[in-house]
Amino acid sequence: MMLGKVIGTVIPCVIYEGLQGVPMLLVQPLDKNGNPKGKTLVAADATRMAGPGETIYYEGGREAAMALETTFVPVDHAIIGIVDGIQRDASGGPS
């Protein structure tokens, strides 16, 4: 899994069978220090509770679909949880 920040929502008007009602969020991937890194992606929200501005962690690949209620769906990234806080090792950089 990787850290990301939710920066927006995506509202599809037509979506593939099995994905109806699943929130789609725009996610900016973050590096280990919490700085933006890489291209924005769209992730299905398995928690159904994430919103713009929140730091989340997401999974990619086959495991993304497995996080959703309907597990055999065409999804490549899914938000697994919302970050409350990060405890860093003393040598791990700023929090």
Binding site: M1, A46, T47, I80, G81, Q87, A90
Partner: protein
Amino acid sequence: MITGRVIGSIYSTINHPFYDGKKLMIVEKTDPQGMATGDYLIAIDSVGAGPGEPVLVLDEGNGARQVIGDNEAPLRSIIVGIIDHVG
């Protein structure tokens, strides 16, 4: 599997039910000399690794689910060893 070093852990109350009560570790990937490559991943722990420790991480879904014993778990990365020495 890959080598890495635990650099922190994540607190989370809202998460997928599988991750309830599981400690999430931030692991920076390292090269064979133990230097950070700049990449990282978030993994759960199966061996009791602590902050700063060099670890062995399994980054493959089917193997990770086999370790946990749950075929439905949305899990790919799991710490499966603590490294003593890389020769």
